[in-house]
């Protein structure tokens, strides 16, 4: 089908992007990601465990970079500088890979993004040749500024990372989407399938999630639910929903031709 997600000149069939954290083990990670149908998966950059037994399996053994588009993130970074250094390491690690997720947090309790630092980092990374998908607040003006800086996608939060609260402010998302000339994806806050569907119905180009799948009782089944929900929401958006009205007075069955009372 021709309804593809396009990010930085590359197209993807799936509009669901998933994280690789918080799973029981690599096998479950892989099973869930397969069920989700995701083509883009986020990874974190962390210090190598020096002296670990050489043979120990790694995430990349289960999720070969040839099969998936890796999206290295800067989770855990609280300053522009850390974020930039982390992504330069990621680029080296992934042989010059340019597509990255920028995320600079504001505080460890809420994990809300620090948009001032995020903007600073985005400027450096764009100049440095990265394709920056940027995690951001749902501030429509800042989202536009990130587009003007040259980010390839803006990813406003639905609600706090790991909260599962769903889309707290769909109105801001609507404004961001209406003004954007680059893809808008919802990142963070999705808790269940309907949340993902709502995001897509608002006109988002995609949804990125991790906890909603990894922290479900049955992550693999939830991954499948999310795949369908994102597709359902996208289809509904394209199909054009019926108008809402408190009073319809328009029955689904014809009003004429009723039998008369005896």
């Amino acid at each position: 089908m021709s309804d593809l997600l396009k990010i930085a000149d590359k197209t993807y069939g799936s509009r669901l992007l998933v994280g690789t954290g918080k799973y029981q083990d690599f096998a479950q990670t892989r099973a869930a990601i397969d069920a989700s149908g995701a083509e883009i998966i986020t990874v974190a950059i962390r210090r190598t465990n020096i002296g670990q037994t050489a043979g120990e399996p790694s995430l990349l053994d289960f999720l070969p970079p040839e099969e998936f588009t890796y999206l290295p993130n800067t989770a855990g970074c609280y300053s522009a500088d850390e974020a930039v250094r982390t992504l330069r390491l990621a680029r080296e690690l992934l042989d010059g890979h340019k597509l990255v997720k920028l995320e600079v947090l504001g505080d460890p309790n809420t994990l809300y993004p620090n948009m001032i630092e995020t903007i600073a980092a985005a400027k450096v990374l764009v100049k440095d040749g990265f394709d920056v998908m940027v995690y951001c607040s749902d501030d429509p003006i800042i989202a536009k500024q990130l587009e003007e800086i040259g980010c390839c996608a803006v990813m406003p939060l639905a609600s706090l990372i790991g909260s599962g609260m769903g889309i707290l402010n769909p109105w801001n998302l609507q404004i961001i989407i209406a003004n954007a000339n680059i893809p808008v994806l919802v990142d963070a806050g999705v808790g269940t399938a309907s949340d993902a569907a709502i995001a897509m119905e608002l006109g988002c180009q995609g949804v990125l999630m991790n906890t909603a799948i990894a922290a479900a009782r049955d992550p693999v089944l939830m991954a499948r639910a999310m795949k369908k929900a994102v597709e359902a929401g996208r289809d509904a958006y394209l199909a054009g929903r019926m108008p809402k009205k408190l009073y319809s007075a328009s029955p689904s069955s014809p009003s004429a031709g009723l039998i008369s009372s005896v």
Binding site: G19, K22, V43, R46, I50, N73, L93, I161, M209, N210
Partner: protein
């Protein structure tokens, strides 16, 4: 007699007795050969292609990172 140098690797200081001492040899020493990793020395990336040529000196701070599960 033999010179020693101290490197800080991923935040931990370690001593090495070193003649000619390159990043490449460090990787071997740490048994990280073949692993997918990236190295930063004193805040600057060391491209894999430069591992051989890059000499380490006493006091260098290194970050050796890999990809792990994350969201």
């Amino acid at each position: 007699m033999q010179r020693t140098i101290q490197l800080t690797i991923n935040g931990k200081p370690r001593n090495f007795d070193a003649e000619i001492f390159s990043v490449a040899s460090l990787v071997t020493m740490l048994d990280l050969e073949g692993k997918r990793l990236a190295i930063e020395c004193n805040g600057e990336i060391v491209p894999r292609s430069q591992f051989e040529q890059t000499q380490l000196e006493d006091g260098d701070k290194l970050e050796i990172v890999g990809a792990v599960g994350g969201g």
